[in-house]
């Protein structure tokens, strides 16, 4: 596909997602209370979008991932949070 074709096919969808993202951050700012590890990881991942990297999706997924390699002794929950709680 040409760049023009990609823009024709996906620009409006991406535009809508971009505005949704901005509205989410505005909503968060209006809300009471502090941040948690998820939004901190989210903000770090947002920075990756500015980089000239042909694998931005992969970079974002890795930024939100547990980087360790050994199995853990026991889980405290069955659910995943979407970001790694122990990120520095």
């Amino acid at each position: 596909m040409t760049r023009q074709q990609v823009l024709d096919l996906y620009f409006m969808e991406a535009r809508a997602k971009l505005i949704d993202l901005a509205a989410f951050l505005d909503r968060l700012d209006r809300a009471q209370g502090g941040d948690d590890f998820r939004i901190e990881a989210f903000r770090r991942a947002l920075q990756l979008l500015h980089q000239k990297n042909p694998e931005r999706a992969k970079a974002v997924l890795l930024a939100l991932s547990d980087p360790s390699s050994e199995p853990i002794a026991r889980a405290n929950t069955k659910a995943a949070a979407g970001a790694w709680p122990d990120a520095p």
Partner: protein, 268 residues
């Protein structure tokens, strides 16, 4: 258009979903054993579930002219209890000869614990001893990268397992390369909020090719879309993929992998 749904939890879906899938061109559905959304209190609960997957659900699908196949296991979310897992693993061989059982799955990891890994290794051994295909669930979200690596290591540590008889499911951009490079099949799960959208799945097809790759809806009791595979076919069409390429991804590839079981047959 014709397609195979290689991963759908139909016990959680309505007859309307069966009707819509068949209308859209679905020619077979495969149902891996999974977590019910709550922990079963005993192995008896799994016995009943395995009967549901091998007796009741095929009959329900048959009413819509749809062949139904099943994978059996204790899922990773309930594998933390190794005693229960051992009891469930002991039940599985009794079901392996049933006509719609095509392998062991969806096994894998959830939170990447030692107990989950131990139960995964027992499933791999079970599959090897009974010459079964393997379907692997990789963990969710932040646990996927690490879990996928642990799973690949565990399978590769067993020399009896041929990578071409294993499908690693729920791959995303950060895991697909390692799965394909190791010779395994890879599944892309099309979910609205997690795993992978149709557009991203087609990106991965563009980047990694059409071999040893399939797409599935993994429709279940959560947010999921039973028609996600035909929707992804539409996405491929919008991108200019040919009818033959689409057919390879949504029909020929799953047919090729699943036919290795010997029991996977489509209606003539």
């Amino acid at each position: 258009m014709r397609y195979i749904e290689p991963h759908g939890h139909m016990v959680s879906r309505t007859t309307d979903d069966y009707q819509a899938m068949v209308t859209a061109g679905c020619e077979a559905v495969c149902e891996p054993a999974f977590w019910a959304g709550f922990d079963r209190s005993s192995a008896d609960g799994f016995y009943d579930y395995f009967c549901q997957l091998t007796e009741h659900e095929p009959k329900r699908a048959e009413k819509f002219g749809l062949p139904h196949f099943a994978w059996l296991c204790i899922n990773p979310k309930e594998s933390e209890d190794v005693e229960l897992a051992g009891e469930v693993l002991a039940l599985i061989p009794k079901f392996l000869d049933r006509p719609n059982v095509i392998g062991i799955g969806e096994i894998g990891l959830n939170k990447n614990t030692r107990n989950e890994l131990s139960v995964l290794e027992q499933h791999i051994d079970l599959a090897a001893r009974h010459n079964q295909l393997i379907l692997v669930h990789t963990p969710h979200l932040e646990d996927k990268r690490k879990g996928t690596r642990l799973i690949l290591d565990a399978i590769q540590n067993d020399p009896r397992i041929q990578p071409g008889r294993v499908l690693i499911d729920h791959v995303e951009e950060h895991t697909i390369q390692a799965v394909l490079d190791a010779g395994f099949w890879a599944g892309m799960t099309l979910y609205p909020d997690s795993k992978c959208t149709a557009a991203r799945a087609v990106d991965m097809i563009d980047l990694y090719g059409r071999e040893r790759l399939w797409m599935n809806s993994a429709c279940d009791w959560g947010v999921s879309v039973p028609l996600a595979v035909p929707h992804a076919a539409l996405e491929m069409r919008r991108r200019g993929h040919t009818a033959a390429t689409i057919d390879q991804l949504i029909y020929q590839n799953p047919l090729q992998f699943l036919s290795q079981s010997g029991k996977f047959k489509l209606m003539k």
